[in-house]
Amino acid sequence: MTRCSKLVDVGRRQFLRGGAIAAAGAAAAVAAPPPSRAAIPGARVDYPSTRLANLADLKPDDPLDVAYPDDQAPGVLLKLGRKVEGGVGPDGDIVGFTTTCPHKGFPLSYAAASRTFNCPGHYSVFDAEQGGQQVWGHATQNLPQYVLRVDAKGDIYAEGLDELLYGRLSNVL
């Protein structure tokens, strides 16, 4: 018990003196070394930073096929033409989603008229403008969305996901 409390205290002190940032830096350092060195597994999976496209590649309402975090995980980048929460890019309108339905793993199609992802397997519908919220359907999670970053050159990177992908018990295999 005593030891436990001390650990909690250490955490608290680090946080109070701004240690959270230092800790994040340390985590990155742990991930970086070559695999030969035994590392303590992270509390979360380490997502790759993957360049998916450049701003110039995207046209409004025209989904660009991509894959993330690996080529077994199809998805799209989408320029919606209006700012949405979680959107990136100069207009805050670029989002990325998996296109594998989180219900039974069927490939979703993008319906431009409604800006939804629709599943031909069991008719589920996900709203691309509302963070992938399931408008109607059978999945017990909303559509996994990419965490995106755009650099100074306009390159768009995916650097994470916010829900578990269908068909894998770890988002990074």
Partner: protein, 845 residues
């Protein structure tokens, strides 16, 4: 922003994890699942030998894989007081769902009580009593002693009619054979309680008296019949949302044509093609859309009738089919009555008595009695006459070679909670009987169902018919004590405004009285409560798994266990009986309902004996059960038809496929069941002959409906939504669901919204002569002008507030035919900001 769990990996089920049978606790379909559990300090691995699936989990798994589970299928729960990982995932080998999980059932794990992961912390953990002005935890003996003393005192003064009971009668969570027997033995065995109602209606009655009176039990076919039918008729049922995996796994293959090979193999002597479907529903539902996607629009006939006119449609179809000679004469001759007694004197306005609102008769007499021309029916229903003829052809016109068309008739709350329930139910069964579609492959005339079923009780004959309108008794000050078992009338009754107002007043009288007495003086407490009851007060006892709206009015709240926290048996919509095994501890002191009933019976016996009434006390013997299995053996095993063949051990071995009731034997280690009822043409009447019903159309039957229709602008049609169907009581603490439906939606045509100055997500008030409620406006271009559809039984806006008290003769509520006006209350609140208002309909591109 959409709710996201930020879960990027899950613990892997180890190869040696415990695996138990689970049947979804929520809806009638009863999908098969397995519960995997293992100690919290262990985990499996990605290598095939280290996980329960024997596959390499370091690889992406394909669509429809069994080797994946969503975060909602995972939790940490207690087993024998120790934390264990729990995964509840769909079973591919279950014939009901074939591995499909619904948006409800696939959240069973996440909606389990978990201290480690803080889920369902709302669950009741201790008995609670009204002490010092609020509900306080106490011991079982303390709570049950008070309940027994007050109940016994009320019975002494008012007789057993002074005890009013509201109780589930179904299967699945909040029910099951164990618990219906437990409560049934208490109220119908030890006592003969007459003033009792069921969870969703204000009396103790069947929702489908008519079909039963005609000799046709309402769950008479097998889910496979939906794969074999030439035509499916769906009346007032939105199966994609409310019998989801029955629809997906058994209707869709037939609509797609993928069951044609099976038809050819099982029914070789007739032509086969993909199914046609006739959907009778005033509203375009997601079911209609899915049927069109799968079958093509030319094979889907959506009959969007005027609300409440189903009977006119059925009667026209019946007469037309009879006139064309598209009937099964041999079946009618052999299996239905030829006795045609004269009509009751006041028919068709009234039956011979309120107990018999229809007139049972022969085929010929029924055809003439029901007769309505296509044109007359078109006028009443608002349909195109050509569509009514087309429906008749799809239902009954012989196939090539003169072969009889196999048509399956399904119906649910659109009919059951609809206008003139008794005759409308009879009108549909007429068509099924005339066309020989009962007891045959590809046929059936069946309820789609709500909960699973799980009814075994001593006789309810003393209740009478029509049964007492219990809500009216409570509103009018009758009764002194109210026992409530897993019901929440504040959310799910009709005339709810008046009910809540009267109920609160009466129960507050008792609360105020209790506040004036020290808790420790039990004699004085009971005396004080009784004095308040004599003044019109009501002492209320609530048994439930979660805090409820009606529970806020109650003086004693008793915590129950739910499915999986106890062994629980039920049967689904094709009478498929399975055992859900106990895979976790109930929260705190919670007990299975059957054991709560037993302990209450024990206390009543003691209290009544102490009061000197030994003979009455003796009636409460026979409740010495120590486990739910004891209740099962006493109840189902001892009293259900075929129950002698059924034990827990045998059910465990039968897995998630179980058997179809009734059991007829036990052979080769398996319980032998019954795939379809009435295959021998002998029906559930004394002479074995089915009855037709002379059931003429008589307009809107329930009191006050026509006047309401004339007075208000909008139809307030109402029903369910897939995310919260039979699960809303737990969904209230599920972020995924609550973000989607922070308020009940009301689907409205965008032009109606514009006229009222209402935007999407705005809160509107729905109001009429019965009361008022609120909903969130959901623009729906497919809605007809002036016709809305509101989510039913949702606590953040109770639709029952605006349903008037009118019922049919047998006290069946008429929720669907409700009219009201609508006005804006407020702009969309913050909770609505993350809600999508796009069409719920799937489109191909």
């Amino acid at each position: 922003m959409a709710y996201k769990r930020q879960i990027d990996r899950l613990p892997i089920i180890p190869a040696d994890a415990r695996r138990q049978n689970v049947v979804c606790q929520f809806c009638i379909v009863g999908c098969g699942y397995h519960a995997y559990s293992w100690p919290v300090n262990r985990q499996g691995g990605t290598e095939p030998a280290r996980n329960a699936f024997g596959v390499d989990l370091a690889k992406q798994q394909p669509a429809e894989t069994a080797a994946w589970y969503a975060p909602s299928m995972y939790n940490i729960v207690k087993q024998d007081g120790q934390d264990h990982h729990l995964v509840i995932k769909p079973d591919k080998a279950c014939s009901v769902n074939g591995g499909l999980g619904s948006v409800r059932g696939a959240r069973m794990a996440e909606m389990s009580f978990s201290e480690a992961r803080s889920t369902q912390q709302q669950r009741l953990t201790d008995p609670q009593v009204w002490r010092y002005g609020q509900l306080q935890p106490t011991s079982w003996d303390d709570a049950l002693d008070l309940v027994a003393r007050v109940t016994a005192a009320v019975i002494r003064e008012q007789g057993e009619d002074g005890l009013i009971v509201s109780a589930f009668d179904h299967g699945g969570a909040g029910g099951g054979y164990e618990n219906t027997w437990g409560t049934g033995k208490l109220y119908f065995g030890a006592m003969k309680v007459k003033n009792i109602r069921i969870h969703n209606r204000p009396a103790y009655n069947s929702e489908v008296h008519a079909t039963r009176d005609m000799g046709v039990g309402e769950l008479n076919n097998a889910y496979e019949d939906a794969e074999l039918a030439d035509t499916i008729v769906a009346v007032g049922t939105n199966a994609l949302e409310t019998q989801t995996n029955y629809f997906l796994n058994h209707w869709v293959p037939n609509l797609r044509g993928s069951s044609v090979a099976k038809k050819r193999q099982m029914l070789p002597d007739e032509p086969h093609e993909a199914a046609r479907i006739v959907v009778v529903d005033p509203r375009r539902t997601v079911t209609v859309n899915a049927c069109e996607i799968e079958a093509g629009k030319d094979r889907v006939l959506h009959l969007a009738i005027k609300s409440g006119t189903d009977l006119a449609l059925f009667n026209a179809l019946f007469a037309y089919i009879a006139d064309q000679g598209w009937v099964d004469r041999a079946f009618i001759d052999a299996s239905t009555t030829h006795d045609a007694p004269p009509r009751p004197a006041l028919y068709p306005a009234h039956g011979v008595s309120d107990a018999k609102p229809g007139h049972l008769t022969s085929f010929e007499a029924a055809v003439e009695g029901c007769r309505l021309s296509i044109e007359e029916a078109a006028k009443i229903t608002g349909l195109d006459p050509k569509d009514i003829v087309k429906a008749a052809e799809w239902i009954a016109k012989p196939k090539d070679g003169g072969k009889r068309r196999r048509t399956m008739f399904s119906y649910e709350k659109g009919l059951i909670w609809g206008n003139d329930n008794y005759r409308t139910n009879g009108g549909l069964v007429n068509i099924a009987l005339a066309t020989g579609n009962v007891g045959r492959p590809g046929g059936g005339v069946v309820r789609m169902g709500g909960h699973q079923e799980g009814y075994v009780r001593p006789s309810d004959a003393h209740v009478g018919r029509p049964a007492a309108y219990v809500d009216q008794l409570l509103i009018s000050g009758r009764g002194g004590v109210h026992h409530v078992w897993a019901c929440d009338h504040y959310k799910t009754t009709l005339n709810a405004h008046a009910f809540k107002s009267a109920y609160k007043k009466r129960t507050d009288m008792v609360k105020d009285a209790m506040n004036s007495v020290p808790w420790g003086d039990r004699d004085l407490m009971v005396e004080t409560i009784m004095a308040a009851i004599r003044q019109g007060g009501l002492f209320a006892v609530d048994v439930d798994i979660v805090p409820t709206r009606i529970g806020q009015a109650c003086h004693v709240v008793l915590p129950a266990a739910t499915a999986g926290e106890m062994n629980l048996t039920s049967m689904n919509g094709e009478r498929r009986m399975r055992l859900t095994e106990r895979y976790m501890d109930p929260p705190g002191q919670a007990l299975p309902d059957c054991l709560i009933a037993a302990r209450l019976a024990n206390h009543l016996e003691r209290v009544i004996r102490d009061a000197g009434d030994a003979a009455y006390a003796d009636q409460f013997k026979g409740f010495d059960w120590q486990s739910e299995e004891d209740a099962f053996m006493d109840g189902y095993h001892g009293h259900a038809g075929g129950g002698e063949h059924v034990t827990y051990e045998r059910l465990r071995a039968m897995g998630t496929n179980g058997f179809q009731e009734p059991a007829t034997g036990f052979e080769g280690g398996r319980i032998v069941g019954t795939k379809r009822l009435y295959t021998d043409g002998t029906f559930s009447t004394q002479d074995g002959k089915a009855r037709f019903m002379d059931a003429p159309w008589r307009g809107l039957q329930a009191p006050g409906k026509s006047e309401q229709q004339a007075a208000y602008r909008f139809l307030i049609n109402n029903g369910r939504a897939n995310q919260v169907w039979q699960s809303a009581y737990l969904d209230l603490q599920n972020d995924f669901v609550m973000e989607r439906w922070p308020f009940p939606f009301i689907e409205m045509h965008p032009d109606d919204m514009a006229e009222l100055g209402v935007g999407q997500g705005d809160l509107v008030e729905v109001f009429n002569d019965a009361g008022a409620t609120q909903a969130m406006a959901y623009p729906t271009p497919t809605a007809r002008r002036g016709e809305t559809f509101m989510l039913f039984a949702y606590p953040m806006g109770v639709q029952g507030n605006v349903v008037n008290a009118g019922t049919n003769e047998l006290v069946i509520p008429n929720y669907k035919q409700t009219w009201g006006d609508i006005r804006k209350i407020a702009d969309a609140p913050k909770a609505v900001a993350g809600t999508s208002f796009k069409s719920k309909e799937y489109s191909a591109g």
